[in-house]
Symmetry: C2
């Protein structure tokens, strides 16, 4: 990977905000805007039950805003939606379209992969992933079916691959420093921002914590 | 539309078998094979809850078989999956990715659209759809939330557009002749084949009915 690309990705992973599955998708954009004003470095649109038409519509609205603000935008799972809304990339889980297949459709867009174990992380690196979403770090309400990796699992993965890593799962202001100390280059959050009374302040607090670590030198 | 393309599509719409949503997707391929042996002219993989990895895997297995047998293969909704498995095209509903967007990603692949009303049918034609799936013709158990078009609605749509039309919704051997008499170029079925005791015989019986109408001259 050329260094410019990797540095851009490292920068984007610092405070990576993933949308929740609330019924009314149109409520997401105002919160995303607040997160960006608070210093979010990436937004991921994750909508497991959304149908294609609405997914594209939401994606276009978010892409327009994130481009204006120089924030990276990822679409979860739907490679077709990522391509149509010209997102910066896609994030795929182990049951979603594979990295190799996503690469066929997306060319040099950024592809992130969820990894729970060292084996999944190494495979993703071999397959050409650009970054890893590693977790769950803590128990989580947003995605109760996610496997548990924990801080020690995160540290093991960080030693095993050279890919940028964003930690995910149960992370909030009170516990965001720990994954940073265990090898993560940034933190991904869902409810810590999406359900915050003040998403701008919540994001700002997370950004302050993460900015205390010089992730570019890892 | 050039005539070769339209004729190929008219041929494909005669007995168009849509998969059901059974839990075990791997059970679909044996039934699809039996349907093809009975004369199915097209297969559509419709899996609303399937995740991407498995969807692609199923799609590749079906595409390999349908190509060998000269039967058209469509993927429902997921444009990315259609592209990856090199299906003949995609079928989209009114809430799925739009025809215009699907065309951007699929180029000259075939794009079918579900239409319940004359207005939806005309819009799909303007948007560049290649064929229409019109229904529900009869009440249906496979898709209880589908709108009701009926035979008279089908006849109205057939008079309003020049696109090939496959009728769908509650169609079986006992009632397949009616939509053919009301302007359809073929019939799409789910449970009539997917739940048949003998999918080959069920498909063959449908094919005999449809072959009694000269749809190429409409």
């Amino acid at each position: 990977m050329c260094m410019d690309r990797k540095e851009r990705i490292l920068q984007a992973l610092k405070v990576y905000v993933v949308t929740d599955e609330r019924d009314r998708g149109e409520e997401l954009l105002p919160i995303i805007k607040q997160a960006v004003y608070g210093g979010a470095t990436a937004i991921q649109l994750r909508r497991k039950k959304e149908l294609g038409r609405k997914f594209v519509e939401l994606g276009r609205a978010i892409a327009e805003f994130t481009k204006e603000h120089g924030v990276m935008f990822f679409v979860n799972d739907r490679v077709d939606v990522a391509a149509l809304v010209d997102a910066d990339g896609v994030h795929v889980g182990q049951d979603d379209i594979s990295v190799v297949d996503a690469r066929k459709l997306l060319g040099d867009k950024i592809i992130g992969v969820s990894a729970e174990t060292v084996q999944e992380a190494r495979q993703a690196e071999l397959d050409g992933a650009d970054y890893l979403g590693v977790g769950s770090i803590y128990p989580t309400v947003s995605k109760p079916d996610a496997g548990y990796t924990g801080l020690s699992g995160l540290a093991d993965i960080a030693k095993s691959v050279s890919l940028p890593i964003v930690a995910i799962g149960g992370i909030g202001i009170h516990n965001a420093a720990e994954p940073m100390r265990h090898g993560a280059h940034g933190v991904a959050v869902v409810s810590a921002v999406m359900s915050a009374a003040d998403p701008t302040e919540a994001t700002r607090a997370l950004r302050t914590i993460v900015d205390g670590y010089d992730t570019m030198r890892r």
